[in-house]
């Protein structure tokens, strides 16, 4: 695990456009940070949300998962992170079945930011971020000497070092979200999964947060997988885009190849024009809609 962390730049490996069905893990996924789903089915109270899904998430890259509401993208993330049990199939990390790992072992490699986070009353920023060290601590939670340095780095990386002493409850939405991300960073994992990290944030904070995740991927080589709603930001910030619809992956690959007018129509049922983003050149989805005010 530690030797993998020495990779600091994203590996420029060719990304498979679609994981072949039912093929066993190959040496390509020998990288510790490759998450892979094989024939995964997940449901709630007997209702299947995802059925037999195969997916490989490229290591050391930023992947965005997009799709219409209730398409199962959050459920998939929860299944990958072992927050929700699988009904069938398996999830592997670097070729190892994650269900064979202890939760703590997994938490040292995969960090997850769930959709909703509520901080306990009275807890302060540095303390909350410090809880990210839990998987690295032994039985009585003895504090380790490098814990402080790690927490401090996480606070600095997310730009909340000045707030270290403040109660989390007093912060604004944008600050609070950065604190939660700092907690996941303090976990020091090779893979970070985020479920709609930009919800509740205004557009400036959304961009700031995605820049931060990009930096994290660039500087630490962390594999970032995030569920996003905003297609244009997903196209701009992700190396690899996964489009889901009705519990399956309908397209995946480089955003410029995947995010076409046809894909938007079939996945979202939305008629749209796709033009190059004037800033980044990535696909920009412009909905057509029925009403067009203005000239």
């Amino acid at each position: 695990m530690t030797d993998v962390r020495t990779f600091s730049a994203p590996v420029a490996a060719s990304v498979p456009a679609g994981a072949p069905q039912g093929e066993p893990a190959t040496d390509r996924s020998a990288d510790q940070a490759t998450l892979r789903a094989d024939g995964v089915s997940i449901g709630y109270d007997g209702r299947r949300v995802i059925e037999g899904l195969d997916l490989e998430l490229p290591a050391r890259r930023v992947t965005a998962v997009v799709g219409p509401n209730a398409c199962g993208k959050s459920t998939l993330l929860r299944g990958l992170a072992r927050l929700h049990p699988l009904e069938a199939g398996r999830v592997t990390l670097g070729g190892t079945d994650v269900s064979a790992m202890s939760r703590k072992e997994l938490a040292r490699v995969v960090g997850v930011l769930p959709q909703s986070s509520v901080a306990p009353d009275g807890v302060r920023v540095a303390e909350l971020v410090g809880r990210g060290r839990y998987p690295h601590q032994g039985w009585f939670g003895r504090h380790r000497s490098d814990d402080d340095a790690v927490v401090m780095r996480a606070l600095e990386a997310t730009g909340v070092a000045d707030l270290a002493d403040r109660p989390v409850a007093e912060l604004s939405g944008g600050q609070r979200q950065r604190v939660w991300i700092a907690m996941v960073l303090a976990q020091e994992t090779d893979v970070v999964l985020l479920d709609e990290p930009t919800t509740y944030l205004d557009v400036a904070h959304q961009v700031e947060l995605l820049d931060l995740l990009r930096d994290l991927n660039h500087d630490r080589g962390t594999t970032v997988v995030m569920v996003l709603h905003e297609l244009n930001l997903a196209a701009r910030y992700a190396d690899h885009l996964v489009v889901m619809s009705a519990g399956r992956v309908v397209a995946q690959g480089e955003p410029s190849h995947v995010l076409t007018e046809d894909a938007v129509l079939s996945a979202f049922g939305l008629e749209a024009r796709v033009v190059p983003d004037p800033v980044s050149g990535t696909p920009l989805v412009v909905p057509v809609g029925r009403h067009r005010h203005g000239r």
Binding site: L83, E105, V112, E127, D215
Partner: protein
Amino acid sequence: MTTTLGAPTPTSAVPTPVAALRARRRRKLALVLTALAVLLVALATLALTLGAASLPPSRALLALVGLGDAGDTFIVHRLRLPRIEAAVLAGAAFGLAGALFQSTLRNPLASPDILGIASGASLGAVWALLVAGLTGLAVSGAAFLGALTIAFCIWFFAWRQGLHPIRSVLVGVGFAYLCSSLLAWLLASAEVREAASALVWTVGSVADVRGAELTTFAAGLALLATAVAVVGRWQGPLALGDDHARGLGVPVDAARVGSLLLAVGLVALATSVVGPLAFVALVAPAIARRLVDDGGPALTTSAVTGAALVLAADLVGQHGLFDISAPTGIVTGLVGAPYLLWLLATHGRKSQA
């Protein structure tokens, strides 16, 4: 921002805000615990001196270390000390149990009183006394089974792919009523003399707990508290919610079940010795959390607060209410009920905001 990510933090002599905050927390916890310990000693001294035969503190302390005259020694060692010990042990057990319930279920209302766990223990004890005709340890065992049965029922009705905190409180309230009704029915149908001796299991009192019973109580509490120290490790991540706790590597369901079983054990143990002592498990952790205020479960502080609370309540019950001597449970109930009302009033307001 990018440069700070990979760069090593300079190791300077100035402590990081993280270390400074932790040091401040430790100092505050030490201060709170010291203050509570001083209060506990003061209350205990008062309890040794007050009574039908009033002893000045100097004579009481001499008797305590075995240097007083025979009369003083008898009063201190046979009458007053066991009562103080019972109050401290019971308060600590209820305080710790309440803190575990509240932090595990993430609800300040989740206490064995509200959840019906305490009523379950009472019901078990009263059933053993009046119906099965049991005595001694068997009564404690029946109290434990009663508490465990209610805990299991709550679990059975509140479990939906995990233990839902709010649903478990609502289900528990229902079972608390059920137990109270059954208890009233058992007492109503019992002989008057028997009912009077069983009444202690419905109100709670630290009087008349002696020798061997105290030793068993202390040993049981020590055992359970050690186990709590182990599961206490999970409470920090659990307080962040199930998803975060799982993401941090906590086996959430096992942690919840383990913590709650220990809390049930603590309640059953204490209830079987001194009766239910209303609201101690609800109030003590709330005071403790307010004193410590670090977003944690405040387990140790809750135990010490509970001990001080019960000792103070017993003093008030014995000497504070003019000529009437009230059982400890009545006094804790008088203190706890207004707190519960206040909690319900402010809790609702907060969730509306």
